[in-house]
Symmetry: C2
Subunit: 477 residues, 2 copies
């Protein structure tokens, strides 16, 4: 990930009376082991922000490395008593600034809480501490023949707690849904330090309000998730096949997406890379694409045997019918990976060009080509480079706005393009964040989208569950 | 539906100063057309309760038949101003008393709000007013090649608004999930009469708290749902096959359920009927079952073509392997219906025996046989007849406790059995309501399951969103 901007001391996220930082640190050191309380400048800077470019942050007063829920509860109790704030953090891979620190805040990292508590193969659920890496959980359940579907791009480095706190999406959610669809229950430390279990382990359950769903995606503002119970699917019954089409225009690729969607086939991945993406990848590691390629459409289907073959063939035919310059298919796992290499390399290839400001809008599926066209208009108007990775199958677009390192004027123009894209997304009936969360970057867009009364509902619920404003101040709404 | 018990005037659901009922009725009559405000004794009695047997209720001060969201908002504003309460109601098919009236309450029926606002085949969503019958919506979207999966047993008479307010389940949710999994957005009248849109129409979205999920299943206590936006699936790509096994014992059927679950096949229905059910159906309409049948296990799989055939054959083999006395299969739609006739007739067949007190517990799948055994122990101990319909595939059991009409002693024993079953469910790691909701019947169980602190979170959220306690008092938590 690229380096972030310096702290924006001129514009604190939230103004409050300054807490007695020294006393809070001393108390943390009394409550926890020395190696769990970090206050050196380098670590404070490292933990001061997540992977969101250009979102504001301040240096926290301390970083705490919690090792069990008791640590989390103790820190929250101390914060509530002292007026300090708590900014919870998983892998720090967020792209909206949801884990960015505040000056009177303790960054509470759950990265050491890595215990997989239980895997119940018969009931098909797993219980994991918040700091378990998504991919670690995925591999552990696979050994028992089970599958945890949510696959954010960060799955090798992001935590299950962070995934739940942000309701992370991913590539396969076009068919299999997002994190919320798999979270059965949560253990949560509330704003006064009390620990509660929400949700259930059974397949169904409607006892009381769905507080589990309320916590999922609330970005640590209502409670700190310390343990997650997730629903699992059988690993068997899927065979991945990839179909990748190279198109001469975005319009042609968009027509292929519409045709696939209308066919009734639900692909397990349907990703678009635009020309800027392709060129960045090709310049780094040659893809050997045919001449004149403007857009790649990368699909997977995962039905087994003859049905999977038929679906893959249909997807290929639909791409050809929409005017693909070439279509490749793969059924072998290594070949599938090879065909998806451009998707995997896109983000790092673009980061080589400069700091990346990642957008995360979601529009109706049918509006994807129009939205992509408006993004390119914004790129032209504000004279910035914008590459597009799009989860085309569910209308979730990631325009990646790139400014050369150190070019402040370009950065300013990038921010204008970012705001314009959010406005255009809303004009097309979209939502300002499809899967990354509001954090700090999407606060203005979220306010516009939700409206005053729904924002007031958020504030009322926040006040009800965190009356002192201890938890992750200024985020999410 | 069987007749309900008389109003329990001795134990009001919630004590508050009596409102000026005459003034409220007069104002309702001023606000609405005459035929929308019902105050005759017969109608008040009819609308005083839902289908929950023996849950307490009182006669409301009026029944309002809302025809659009403006009516709903006007009634809520009047209630908030006058101190009256509002009890929202869809089809009145609830089984937990969630729509039962209170003496200072206006029953607000949304049954006339039956407009399907929009079906978007390309984006695969539909927007329906709250009073649209589940099956009406299902048929309307099917005409456009789409499928709305949630299928509560009441789907021919229950409304989509009521389904959302209670987070209704159904038979296919073992594979396809419950109502919550399909609700993208809601239009809701809040406790002060203001109307808000929650959620989205896009495939994904994480802007702000998931207030849509908070409203779904909150049983009208936080807002009144007037319009529901649901996600749809393609209708194509499914072929239903039924496999029905007749077993000599519950244990054998339970072993078949475990074997099917362990096979990795996810059936689209997996229902158990116990001996009491089978005998009731057989006595009414002969099923022609082999001698010695104690338990029926009814499965569906819905994969297409060869895979569907293979899965159906595997399910049949697994039933045989677990000791089924006979196994029948069907692939033709009429034959599938015929094999499931016992499931369809079970509830009406049991109602012929007397008023039915419907339980709705959900235990871990593997605990289904043990739970069924404990239910029969409770039946013996309290000398009541208990029949069992179980969504075995997700551990959701419906013990149906039957007392002869007019036998108050049997009713008292039935209530003891009901409470015992809830306790046993919790002892086995279950939840007190799998899909019917807390309403009134499950209030003690819900309090025990959730614990004081989580109940306090509910109360804080209720206070935040409905500070005057206008909406559906005393329900849900």
């Amino acid at each position: 990930m690229s380096s972030a901007a310096p702290p924006n001391h001129a514009a604190p996220i939230d103004a409050r009376p300054v807490v007695d930082r020294g006393a809070v640190v001393a108390e943390l050191q009394r409550l926890l082991r020395a190696d769990q309380v970090v206050t050196d400048a380098a670590a404070l800077a490292e933990y001061a922000h997540d992977d969101a470019e250009w979102a504001p942050f301040e240096l926290p007063l301390a970083v705490v490395l919690a090792e069990h829920e008791g640590d989390v509860a103790a820190v929250v109790r101390l914060a509530a008593a002292s007026g300090a704030r708590v900014v919870p953090r998983g892998g720090g891979t967020g792209l909206s600034g949801g884990a960015n620190a505040v000056a009177d805040g303790i960054v509470l990292s759950l990265e050491r809480m890595t215990r997989i508590v239980e895997i119940d193969a018969a009931e098909r659920f797993a219980v994991a501490e918040a700091g378990v890496i998504n991919d670690t959980l995925r591999q552990a359940v696979a050994e028992q023949g089970l599958w945890y579907p949510p696959d954010p791009a960060s799955y090798r480095i992001s935590t299950i707690g962070g995934n739940a706190a942000t309701n992370a999406g991913g590539i396969c959610c076009v068919k299999y849904g997002v994190t919320r669809d798999y979270v059965l229950g949560l253990r949560v430390v509330l704003a006064d330090g009390e620990i509660v279990d929400l949700g259930r382990r059974t397949a169904k359950g409607v006892t009381g309000f769905d507080l589990t769903a309320l916590m999922v995606g609330s970005e640590g503002t209502l409670g700190i998730i310390t343990q997650v119970t997730v629903k699992l699917l059988p690993l068997a019954g899927r065979e991945e096949r990839a179909v990748v089409g190279a198109f001469g225009s975005l319009i042609a690729a968009g027509e292929a997406v519409s045709a696939i969607s209308a066919s009734g086939i639900v692909p397990s991945a349907l990703e678009i890379l635009d020309r800027t993406c392709i060129e960045a990848v090709d310049a780094w590691q040659s893809l050997g694409l045919p001449h004149g390629v403007d857009t790649l459409l990368l699909a997977k289907v995962d039905e087994v045997a003859a049905l999977g073959e038929r679906h893959a063939a249909s997807v290929a035919d639909l791409m050809t019918g929409a005017g693909a310059l070439s279509v490749e298919q793969a059924a072998d796992a290594d070949e599938v990976d090879r065909l998806f290499v451009a998707r995997r390399l896109a983000y790092p290839a673009l980061e080589r060009l400069g700091p990346v400001l990642t957008e995360d809008i979601c529009v109706p599926r049918g509006a994807v080509p129009e939205m992509l066209a408006r993004i390119q208009s914004a790129a032209a108007e504000f004279d910035v480079v914008i590459a597009n990775i799009a989860h085309a199958g569910d209308g979730n677009l990631h325009p990646l706005i790139i400014a050369p390192e150190g070019d402040d004027a370009a950065k300013a123009r990038a921010k204008l393009a970012f705001d314009r894209i959010v406005d255009e997304c809303r004009a097309l009936g979209g939502t300002v964040t499809g899967e990354h969360g509001v954090g700090l970057l999407k606060l203005p867009g979220a306010r516009a989208e939700l409206g005053d009364r729904v924002i007031a509902m958020h504030a009322a619920i926040k006040q009800a569950l965190d009356p002192k404003g201890t938890l992750n101040p200024g985020k999410a709404f």
